[in-house]
Assembly symmetry: C2
Homo-oligomer: 478 residues x 2
């Protein structure tokens, strides 16, 4: 089924209305991490409920319970479950996006009010919190639906919507809801594939489609000794200092060149095939891309493919900080009594929290014993999640690739990402269907940062891409 | 000249008045670190000015300028310079104490209001902020003076008072004032010796006299790389992480057994003589003393003398913390862009900031070069002070030893301390006379901690000790 020209025409002729829709959404400060803004997250959900209902979607606002934040007992924002179409001859595509955003204050360094969408006519950029993460992509689906409903076009697939309001704050309640809605007569029955639009191109030039995400396991490494903080004048050189032990242990986790020093981890990683290596060589990326993204010439390698594999297909171990030691500006002569080192390991196939945690904990205990300290060690994993990888040869990916080629006239980069989006794995495992990440924005959008933006062309062409993808699903699904 | 019995009788018969004097002083919350309490520090100075003047002391409230704290431009509390007696046939003793205190809040874990002196009748302890550090010792001198003036006794020496209100906050302005008051016709002219009462016994049993203090040099070790904090999912394994470099460098400073790994430091330390070693063996101290003081069995050695030398006559290197990394509770997946390691080295003869800083900085630069990182290193010394050591055979010490034997019926421990009291070195160097540290309180008083106390017996017997010391100066000075 080819895409009707009337669809593209509708998008082009409604550009300013679609930008206004994004402006209206950005104006609702739906910050899920902030108890004061919980009412705005809920208002954002209601705003979407009405828009979906006006377009004929059968909407259920799923209550996923309550949570305590900063001592306040708050309702969780509802998960919006929507149905549009039930034609048994059509494929059913499950869509996911989130309507909450990261915190943002003008005083953080924004050039414009983060909750007022600002269109820079010269660059075509639309600045505002959530423009790219994830209100723009979410509204892209509404734009596609409107173009069909109001433009008198028939959608080539059945749609199922799952829009949550807690993604930036741990997706509280989502996994349980999804698991409870799987089975005969339940919401997710009949879903053929999943499309998640909540990530970005690898760079600012080339569209990409993402088929893998790293998992994570996050550790807290505690060394304690004295019963209270001590003065280094009085007790320096008299006692075993916990921070000295901790720093020695943390240095044994990772080399300055990035080599993970925990035995057994490297051996578990799925071996690199020649075909896979070539896939990285083909990606549109350079050492300069990473160095301009991080703002300094600190890339660990001069080889673009090595760098990309470092992010996408190898584990990484990062040290995040130390809790309990002196961390303020100035000079304090304390010997901290109890310190907690924080570090995490990003997981790739075939690393899981289950097969990695034991290796990490045993290694740290062995190394601590070698220190011959009278202090006490404790190691715990604070949270963990498995890596996710999909088959990029599945018809769901074929559809997305073809749609991208139609809209952007280039082959998309096939990427894996270094971070994790836990719902991806939940959908893959509970629904048992192929899951696809189809990004709308660019790598320099600054999601989670100040001056987040979405290029107008990414919003408008991205809306066309999402619609085209649905036609390609209908055409390619087997 | 023997001590008149009337002096001791006056002290004994005025015990309750002297305790009330301490209660009145503790009730003034003279916290020098807190801008809100600056007015109270100044009120404390005025309170002392009146008491000294009422006893016939010629007082000058020396203005030492202003300072900016928390954005507020504040006056520094005056240094109280007092003269009592100018008999050329008598020795002139310079006294030093401070009238400011450490911060204290009931909510820090105090059992009683820190600014209300609380007398525990069972234990004889007087609880309150500043009771031991340093209002008790300071008022001890007022008690001695009152016993003579109101008891109709003649003091055996001329007295000079120097009471400051900024000791707990860097003694701002004090060094410059002392230096400006040295010379013919100036305040410090004619001073024969200095007595500082601002430290504690080594334990809770045996009086001590202190003839040495360690110096310090405090370092800030900065590793910077990326232009901003990064997400470890996106950039883990792509860039050189500053915190990884920093942890490797900090681990190269000190072994878990306390060995300083910076080459050249150990060689500079004055060699241990057999006689000196014996002096440590004689001190009333045990491994259990350090372990009960720190609240855990984490002493670095099973040999009491090794532990004491670790504090008193060897340098120590302590790691204090890291600024710029993730230091809060919880799990954040940040790669910090710029981190500052804080550590300090306690100095003993013959280590000085001048001969040590170069060794430390060169070593860290050499070790950083070996890491082969693309990040940037900077090392700076934030502040430094030389160690101080006095001749414990000087008549000033003989006087203090005899006075202690008279009051406590035991020979005092001759100790060196691990911390620094910078004014000690200033007096020694600018006045060129012997300086003595004569403590009033015990090692378990908890200065700078919650539930600070001074035993009533230490306050009353300590007052007698201070007075007796003045008579022994008159008898022993040459
Ligand atoms: Zn997102
Ligand atoms: Zn996000
Ligand atoms: Zn003090
Ligand atoms: Zn103090």
């Amino acid at each position: 089924m080819s895409v009707p020209q009337a669809f593209y025409d509708y998008i082009d002729s409604h550009e300013s209305q679609f930008i206004q829709r994004l402006a209206d959404a950005v104006a609702i400060p739906s910050v899920s991490a902030d108890a004061e803004h919980r009412k705005d997250v809920i208002a954002m959900g209601k705003y979407l409920q009405k828009q979906l209902q006006d377009l004929g979607v059968e909407v259920r606002m799923a209550d996923v319970g309550r949570q305590v934040v900063d001592g306040q007992d708050l309702p969780l924002p509802p998960v919006i479950l929507g149905k549009f179409g039930s034609d048994p001859k059509k494929k059913t595509v499950q869509l996911y996006a989130h309507y909450d955003v990261q915190p943002a204050l003008l005083s953080d360094g924004w050039n414009t009010d983060p909750f007022k969408l600002t269109h820079d006519g010269q660059t075509g950029r639309l600045y505002g919190r959530g423009a790219s993460d994830d209100k723009g992509p979410l509204l892209g689906w509404l734009n596609v639906l409107e173009a069909h409903v109001k433009g008198g076009l028939e959608l080539p697939v059945n749609l199922r919507f799952c829009f949550e309001g807690m993604e930036e704050s741990g997706s509280e309640g989502l996994d349980e809801l999804i698991e409870s809605e799987v089975g005969p007569g339940k919401f997710f029955e009949g879903v053929d594939c999943v499309c998640i639009s909540d990530n970005y191109w690898l760079n600012d030039r080339t569209p990409c489609i993402t088929y893998g995400l790293r998992g994570i396991t996050y550790y807290k490494l505690t060394v304690s000794g004295p019963g209270r903080d001590l003065h280094s004048g009085v007790f320096g050189n008299m006692v075993h200092e916990p921070l000295v032990d901790l720093v020695h242990l943390m240095a044994k986790l990772i080399s300055p060149q990035g080599e993970i020093l925990v035995p057994g981890i490297a051996e578990l990683v799925a071996p690199l095939t020649e075909e896979e290596r070539k896939r990285y060589d083909k990606l549109d990326y350079s050492v300069q891309d990473v160095e301009s993204a991080v703002g300094a010439a600190v890339a660990r390698s001069d080889d673009k493919s090595e760098l990309l594999m470092g992010r996408m297909r190898y584990p990484s171990l990062s040290l995040h900080g130390i809790e309990g030691a002196f961390s303020a500006p100035g000079a304090k002569t304390v010997i901290p009594a109890c310190v907690h080192g924080k570090f995490s390991l990003r997981l790739v196939p075939n690393l899981t929290p289950e097969n990695v945690d034991g290796l990490v904990i045993k290694y740290l205990k062995d190394e601590f014993a070698k220190l011959d300290s009278k202090n006490t060690l404790n190691v715990e994993s604070l949270h963990g999640g498995k890596p996710w990888i999909a088959d990029p040869n599945h018809w769901n990916y074929v559809a997305a690739i073809k749609a991208t080629e139609t809209i952007y006239k280039v082959s998309p980069d096939l990427t894996r990402e270094g971070g994790s989006i836990p719902v991806t794995l939940t959908f893959a495992e509970t629904l048992g269907v192929n899951v696809l990440l189809l990004p709308m924005g660019r790598g320099d959008d600054g999601a989670h940062s100040t001056n987040e933006k979405l290029d107008k062309s990414n919003y408008i062409q991205g809306t066309k891409l999402l619609g085209t993808y649905l036609y390609e699903v209908a055409a390619n699904a087997t």
